[in-house]
Symmetry: none
Subunit: 421 residues, 2 copies
């Protein structure tokens, strides 16, 4: 079954809000094996809404449109739907009563304009709103079906879960999509592709996609089959082969983030972690503590942005700061040692570098030193040269630090020297 999602709302075209409904609906449809081949977005304009719905109906079995069902004059999706179907809008007495009741219940006077929400194109079925006042609509057009749902995410999601998804799952019959992301750190996207691309030559099921971003590469495998279990069974052997070829740069399958993996490894080894941060300014700690339950293994981070605080809070020797400079192997090592002592942590990791846009002392933007200190007698430092702007450099630095902790905890070799990305 082919589906298409049509977002309606001028605010989407002005970039005032993100089209998060399209993403949410797409994800839900994928889970029940419905293919989404197109998204469209149009403004609150009858003619363009009609064109968009016609186009969608010409190439899809089911169309889900969201938005433009509110009570104000700029909400014209009902009118557009009636115009496309060539029918009149009729006021639905049941919907009118529900709207009046809703206002009476909260003791508020009802603006007359709200009754526009009770207007239904002749022949359409009403999908009642549990919350909100705008009902959804369902029409059959030839062999295709169109749903029109409110743009407010909570109202749309409620109708999708209660009505649309069960109806489509029945219609789609036994078919499902399964998808798995294999996540890698410390390797370039093109190198990943080179290592595994041949597995997918001529393969339409599962399919593969490579996604690079945020200092990591994801290999996404997607398979279709009669049931979710069968689709997963198609993925399993190829996923295992992809993981085997990529080796220890793979840090997780599926949704687990690098900070979650590191947290899980720390918790199961019953070891504690502390950080010392300069260029990342607290972002490494923020990512580690974004994981619920981080207090079981994370003690804290000394964010030392000035040379004085590196000396006084972390005990970095003044000679190191003068001779080697703040962006150096020696400074990173002293910071990690200082953090380990300050927080009495089992493992400490430190980051110092030039995030840019300006050089930091002698260090060019993008140069970062990462240091790991752990018991017994693990003392490791490496430099990376990160690409991009300030926020990208920070992100790459964090990935390198988290990966060092992951490798240490898993007993994997610790990378040496530069990793240039």
């Amino acid at each position: 079954m082919r589906a298409e999602i049509v977002g309606i709302g001028t605010e989407l075209l002005l970039g005032e809000i993100e089209n998060s409904n399209a993403r949410w609906i797409s994800e839900r449809l994928a889970e029940i094996g419905v293919d989404v081949l197109h998204h469209q977005v149009v403004g609150d304009n009858v003619e363009r809404i009609v064109d968009a719905l016609r186009l969608a109906l010409s190439r899809s079995d089911v169309v889900i449109a969201t938005g433009g069902l509110g009570p104000t004059q700029d909400d014209v999706t009902r009118e557009a739907l009636a115009s496309m179907l060539g029918v009149r809008l009729l006021r639905d007495p049941k919907v009118e009563e529900a709207i009046r009741e809703r206002f009476a219940r909260v003791g508020r006077e009802m603006p007359e304009s709200n009754l526009r929400q009770a207007d239904v194109p002749q022949g359409a079925r009403v999908i009642a709103a549990r919350r909100g006042t705008a009902p959804g609509l369902r029409c059959e057009v030839g062999s295709a079906r169109i749903y029109v749902l409110p743009g407010v995410p909570a109202e749309m999601q409620e109708m999708m879960v209660d009505h649309v998804l069960p109806e489509l799952a029945r219609r789609a019959g036994p078919s499902a999509i399964a998808s798995r992301a294999i996540r890698c750190v410390g390797i370039a996207e093109s190198r990943v592709a080179e290592l595994v691309d041949d597995l997918f030559h001529g393969s339409a099921n599962p399919t593969v996609a490579f996604l690079a971003g945020g200092g990591e590469v994801r290999v996404r495998l997607t398979a279709k089959a009669g049931t979710r279990e069968e689709a997963e069974a198609l993925i399993a052997p190829i996923a295992a082969e992809v993981e085997r070829r990529l080796g220890d740069v793979v840090y997780a399958s599926d949704a687990e983030s690098l900070e979650e993996v590191v947290g899980r490894l720390l918790a199961s080894a019953r070891r504690t972690l502390a950080c010392a941060e300069s260029l990342t300014g607290g972002e490494l700690a923020a990512r580690i503590t974004s994981v619920p339950g981080a207090s079981a293994y994370f003690l804290g981070s000394a964010v030392c942005y000035s040379a004085a605080s590196k000396r006084e809070v972390l005990g970095v020797p003044a000679e190191v700061l003068e001779a080697a400079g703040p962006v150096s192997r020696e400074c990173a090592q002293a910071m990690a040692r200082g953090a380990r002592a300050l927080f009495r942590a089992d493992v400490a990791v430190a980051l110092t570098g030039a995030a840019g846009p300006e050089p930091h002392g002698a260090a060019e933007p993008g140069l970062v030193w990462v240091a790991l200190e752990a018991d017994p007698r693990v003392s490791h430092q490496r430099a990376i040269r990160a690409p991009g702007d300030r926020s990208m450099v920070r992100r790459w630095a964090e990935q390198a630090a988290l990966d060092l902790v992951r490798r240490h905890l898993r007993g994997l070799p610790l990378p040496q020297g530069d990793r240039v990305v």
Copy 2:
């Protein structure tokens, strides 16, 4: 001028990532007075990309397509563009050299597949990539123009800012949209609307929109006119009246963030700041240091996630932690004092609270204590009850801390007691 945005990528249709590029591009185009009438999204499929581009060209003066320019086999936007134009792909020697140089510079071997990124449809102009390796492309098709840009947001944005926006602004000629966001902190959206809504009754130019999110409320005014100056002149008097009515909850007009405002106030007063963070786990410091030049006023943050580190790093008395608990006025005050002493800062701000989903000791999720310590003898604490999930609670806590610093530096009254939002 009518523009259309075409997002290319199967991951968008699977709902794996949000189409944030469409939003960002739409916002930028609105700023230069270019109307966006449609968004489309299609997967990595040559035939459907060709259809989407054809449709877009049939109704728009300019088409901006993003995605599918990577080095891997699933990236087929180049092929689709050439097929739609009816031309061949030619390898561009300059682009090839730039890609080879990039790899040589960082001392890495280049996978041959990367050279696909040097393939250019005959007649297309190359938009060089400052970062990344994928160049953008520009073609003229009849009187319309099509841009094809990388899907990676940072690479796309760089090309938009350096090339596409200046070219389109010249083409669009004298017609412009001006827009201003008035940013407020410490006030509810409905209260903002109540205070200023009457200013916009019956006004189509400028228009107003209220947007709440991230612990703040934005009042966005948008006006259209022949020139940007004229559009801005339409906004100015109403913006002044909005700001007058809202008073000191307004922290900025336009794009300046709360952390930028605080940074500017600190820099001009030549005062330094330090933080002590518990529930925010370094995110407050990360936001402060995301501003280039923060090292002029920001010294550091002690992220103390455990009770022991609050005692040992910040000197919070054991009696305070036992009697009042870690989420208390007394603990927040002691943390701020500790951070001020540790970093020798002029101003220190501390945050401790329960981010959730679990209560933190006796504190229910959402309860946060904020403390400010500054010379001479400023010692202020307040509690807030923040709504939502873990990340929302953290965000609200940071807003409250930054707003306390802003109010202190500007000599405004410091809010007392609970703010329930």
